[in-house]
């Protein structure tokens, strides 16, 4: 019965790929490939937005797609790569603490997110309501990635992946946010990246490594 | 107040002051007989007091006015106590103070004597003061319980009312009164420095309590102090008679012939009591100072038993 329109199928494909990329980032050890996966995720988001804009003929979606492409596919990955080169952490790898357990938890999270998104999806009038579950799981997976990571840079990549999840959620729930809000969020993310850049250099200067176990001196109890 | 009441009041105070040394002499004489020693004359205390009054008073260099005032205050309080206790008849001054006030009066005498003892600042004075206060604070609750039991029976703490109620009570065996009487005798022995607690005759530094406080006194101050001690013993005896041998008291309205009857009754009671005290003293030996708390705890226990028996059995 599901002679669903081909563009919806494509949209679901992009959403599925987005989820797959999140899982990949969860288990990726090399930082450089982590950034590339982030760029891929941005690409999927851009494609989904473009497709949705073409399908629903909404002007501001085109603008949002362009913004996503410019920011999430081109600018941020370039900034990260430049930082990796300047911080000379190109070849650094980061052991993921027992990947099997993380994967299992990831699966549980996806199930929980779909359970969570179920009641909302029934009410959503948009065509892509089923993608809401995927958006929530991408957010929570990114959250899990930030928890399990030991390097500052990979934590930031997790943070940006969460942003991608948020935008995808906005896309699937309400065809994006009002333009003034989208611009504000984009500006904030950009400024955040600049601030993080400054942070990386300072941390590198102080601790000559980006490992987070240096940043544990402020505590009540050891 | 009509003149006769004042007259009886003064008469009774005079009688008390006069009879006290005699009572003391009588007790010492009985003790001598019981210990088959040749007894000193009964009026020996009178002669001792008269002799002391004639001597020159010797005071320590830095004895303060308190030291010189104390004998008069102690003697004064004892005379007032005598004025309050109905030895022969109910007196007008009785309304001014009830039994609890009487205990307070004895406490005043004790405090002034202790302060005077500490004034000169010798080891013996302070030593004696400390022990006297210890005996004091242990004896007072027991004495109060004795008075409580008596007042529970007679619904009042005024001594004349108590003695009248006890006198007019139906004759019979009252265990509560018996226990209280035992308690009272123990307190009497402790308070008046008799044998089990303190030996009146000794000047041995380590054991004396009452004598230690008088060590610094001489001549007329010592006389007053000795007289006050005798008067205290007499007062305690009279309280004992008022509580436990209430017969023979001239009630207010009875007039002069009842008074005439009361005097021989009082003398008889004093004789019996003196003999009793002497017997107890010859039979018991002096306790170590730190056994005194148990001695007085026993007194307190008897008083409490008396009260409980009265509450439970109503007797």
């Amino acid at each position: 019965m599901n002679t669903v329109a081909w563009d919806l199928q494509l949209l679901n494909l992009f959403a599925a790929l987005l989820l797959l990329l999140s899982f990949a980032m969860l288990s990726q050890r090399r930082i450089v490939s982590l950034v590339n996966l982030l760029a891929l995720q941005g690409l999927m988001l851009w494609a989904a937005t473009l497709l949705l804009a073409w399908r629903t003929h909404q002007g501001h979606l085109y603008m949002s797609a362009a913004l996503t492409f410019g920011l999430k596919v081109v600018l941020l990955p370039w900034l990260l790569h430049r930082m990796i080169r300047r911080l000379k952490v190109y070849w650094e790898t980061e052991p993921v603490i027992n990947p099997a357990a993380t994967m299992l938890v990831g699966v549980l999270i996806v199930i929980f997110s779909f359970g969570l998104a179920q009641p909302i999806a029934e009410l959503a009038s948009t065509t892509t309501r089923s993608a809401l579950g995927i958006a929530v799981s991408v957010i929570l997976l990114a959250f899990l990635m930030m928890i399990t990571r030991r390097k500052a840079l990979s934590q930031v990549v997790g943070f940006l992946s969460m942003e991608n999840g948020l935008f995808f959620g906005a896309m699937s729930a309400t065809y994006g946010m009002p333009m003034v809000v989208e611009l504000g969020v984009a500006l904030d993310v950009l400024v955040a990246m600049l601030v993080l850049g400054v942070f990386f250099f300072q941390i590198r200067e102080q601790f000559d490594s980006l490992d987070l176990h240096h940043l544990e001196s402020l505590r009540e109890r050891d | 107040m009509e003149r006769t009441a004042i007259l009886t009041q003064l008469l009774e105070m005079g009688a008390a002051v006069a009879l006290a040394p005699l009572f003391l002499g009588w007790v010492t004489q009985c003790r001598a007989w019981l210990q088959n020693r040749s007894a000193p004359p009964v009026w020996l205390p009178y002669r001792a007091i008269r002799k002391l009054f004639h001597k020159d008073a010797v005071l320590a260099q830095d004895a303060s006015p308190l030291f010189r005032i104390a004998p008069y205050v102690v003697f004064g309080t004892m005379v007032v106590a005598a004025a309050i206790i109905p030895s022969m008849s109910t007196l007008p001054l009785n309304r001014a103070a009830d039994a609890i006030a009487l205990v307070g009066l004895f406490a005043t005498a004790r405090v002034f004597m202790s302060l005077a003892a500490m004034d000169v600042g010798t080891a013996f004075g302070t030593f004696g003061a400390r022990r006297e206060m210890m005996v004091g604070f242990l004896a007072e609750p027991a004495l109060l319980m004795v008075i409580f039991v008596a007042s529970l029976i007679s619904q009042s703490t005024a001594l004349p009312v108590i003695s009248e109620a006890l006198a007019t009570q139906a004759l019979g065996l009252y265990p509560s009164l018996a226990f209280t009487a035992v308690a009272f005798t123990l307190v009497l022995l402790a308070e008046n420095a008799r044998i089990p607690v303190d030996n009146p005759a000794t000047h041995l530094e380590l054991t004396m309590i009452h004598e230690a406080m008088l060590l610094e006194y001489s001549a007329r101050h010592l006389a007053l102090m000795e007289w006050a001690a005798a008067l205290k013993l007499f007062n305690y005896a009279c309280i004992g008679f008022a509580l436990f041998l209430p017969w023979g008291l001239a009630t207010g309205a009875a007039g002069p012939q009842a008074l005439a009857l009361a005097i021989p009754a009082l003398l008889a009671k004093l004789a019996v009591a003196g003999l009793g005290i002497a017997v107890i003293e010859t039979l018991s030996a002096k306790l170590r100072v730190f056994r005194v708390p148990e001695f007085l705890a026993a007194a307190f226990l008897f008083a409490v038993l008396g009260m409980l028996v009265h509450q439970l059995l109503g007797a």
Binding site: P119, L123, I139, M162, G169, V181, G184, V185, Q206, L218 | -
Partner: protein
């Protein structure tokens, strides 16, 4: 017009100070801009009291008695903090802990931070509220890491990551809110996120979506407000930054976060029959008070001690808003005011004390009253005020909150009182040896600015004994607006 002035002045200040921040007259400029903002805020307040609610800037900005009192408070504390930072920074420059470049960054970020808070308070658009909160976080992160010490770096990093994640969740909450609003208000875009419209139509919004949205918003803005399970960044951030920033963070930013949570609660409570939002708020509140008071016992750094005290007081305010009802809301608003005034006054005194001792460890600060009585008495009076000792206003609001709690949530009262008692013993036990006793502290090169400390404590003392009638009506109006059963 006042609103425009209110927002433009700090922004202009930020830009100008970015260029001239290091010049000798920069602190005075900073004070001037803050004073300008305060004047605009007072004018706005007068206008709101006269005319009631104001919808300005094509409905993007909305000012009602509830947020205008917060705006005036923010502007006032902003001014006094700039006064304090003038003398504080002069001493810091003398001690060589801050160079010219960073001073410029400090002044401009300070004004930017004030601007973002004022925007967050006045905006009607929930999305813009989120953007302003994010901007506030960004501006303070740079301020927290001003000293470039390893500890401040760590504090800044944690502050950034934890609040960033929190705020991201809040964004998703806003998205869900937008989603629920769009179904009712139609999809023509802009009006769906405006609080006034949402408030008007909140009864018809979809309950399940709103509940989920509230969870995300609560966790998001709750992280910014320092509620307990999400509080870990707060002690580090408030202790490592320069003291004026700790004062402004503790005093004002926490209030703005609570303001955002309350705005969402008003919407969610309207549509839901169940009292889950209030229970959540109360749960967070009690947890914050209890855990913070026990954490106070192990502190050795004076600013961390008062940071935990802020968590505890935020817990009390959240608990009060959670209870709802006119008296509790009134008490919560009063508590917000007196807490920010007292806490900033304490941080002013602590700043000078730490500078005198050259370290923030409480064991190094001794005998303040003997060397500089004004700082010593200021710190002691501030501590007594924050501990809720009666003549001061904090007791007045705590009295109202606890007595209301006895009526509605009897289970919470003994827990709160025990926690308050433990906190009292902890804080007073540490501050007393600092203020009294022998001393070895050296004099400050520049005279300490103590006018702000005593003006704040004077106002708090006044609020404790006599709440002026117009202020009382103002709070009652706001309490009714916050609503609740």
């Amino acid at each position: 017009m006042e609103l425009a002035l209110l927002l433009v002045i700090p922004l202009a200040g930020a830009l100008l100070l970015a260029l001239t921040g290091a010049r000798p007259r920069a602190p005075e400029l900073n004070v001037a801009f803050s004073a300008g903002a305060l004047l605009a805020a007072v004018a706005l307040a007068v206008r709101v009291i006269a005319e009631g609610e104001l919808l300005l800037g094509r409905e993007q900005f909305f000012v009602d008695p509830f947020n205008v009192f917060l705006i005036t408070l923010t502007a006032f504390v902003g001014l006094t903090t700039s006064l304090f930072s003038r003398s504080y920074m002069r001493v810091e420059v003398d001690h060589g802990r801050i160079g010219a470049g960073r001073l410029r960054l400090y002044h401009s970020m300070y004004q930017l931070f004030m601007a973002t808070m004022l925007v967050a308070l006045t905006t009607n658009n929930m999305g813009l509220l989120w953007v302003a909160m994010e901007a506030a976080t960004l501006s303070t992160v740079l301020l927290v890491t001003l000293y470039r010490t390893p500890a401040s770096l760590e504090a800044g990093w944690k502050y950034f990551i934890l609040c960033g994640v929190g705020i991201a969740l809040a964004l998703f909450g806003t998205i869900l809110l937008y989603f629920a609003a769009e179904k009712v208000l139609g999809a023509e875009g802009v009006t769906a996120l405006l609080w006034t419209h949402l408030d008007a139509v909140k009864a018809r919004l979809e309950p399940t979506v709103l509940e989920l949205a509230f969870v995300f918003l609560l966790v998001g803005y709750g992280t910014k407000a320092g509620l307990v399970p999400l509080h870990n960044w707060l002690p580090d951030a408030h202790a490592e930054g320069p003291t004026p920033i700790s004062a402004v963070l503790s005093g004002l930013l926490l209030n703005v976060a609570i303001y955002a949570v309350v705005r969402c609660k008003v919407l969610v409570e309207g549509s839901l029959q169940s009292s889950i939002p209030s229970q959540m708020l109360m749960g967070f509140g009690v947890a914050s008070v209890v855990l913070a008071s026990f954490l106070l016992w192990r502190q050795r750094d004076i600013k961390r001690l008062f940071a935990y005290s802020s968590i505890e007081h935020m817990g009390i305010i959240t608990f009060a808003f959670g209870m709802g009802g006119p008296v509790a809301n009134f008490a919560a608003l009063l508590h917000m005011t007196v807490h920010s005034l007292t806490k900033s006054a304490i941080f002013f005194a602590v700043g000078h004390a730490a500078q005198k001792a050259g370290s923030q460890l409480m064991d190094d600060i001794r005998g303040l009253i003997t060397t500089s009585p004004t700082i010593g008495w200021g710190l002691l009076a501030g501590t007594l005020a924050i501990l809720g000792v009666p003549p001061f206003g904090v007791f007045a609001s705590e009295f109202l909150i606890l007595t209301t709690a006895m009526r509605e949530q009897p289970w919470a009262t003994p827990i709160l009182l025990v926690a308050l008692g433990v906190a009292f013993a902890a804080i007073f036990g540490r501050v007393q040896p600092m203020v009294f006793g022998e001393t070895s502290l050296r004099r400050l090169p520049h005279p300490p600015a103590l006018l702000p400390v005593f003006t704040h404590l004077g106002v708090v003392l006044l609020l404790g004994l006599y709440v002026p009638p117009y202020l009382a009506d103002w709070y009652r109006l706001a309490a009714r607006l916050v609503g609740g059963h």
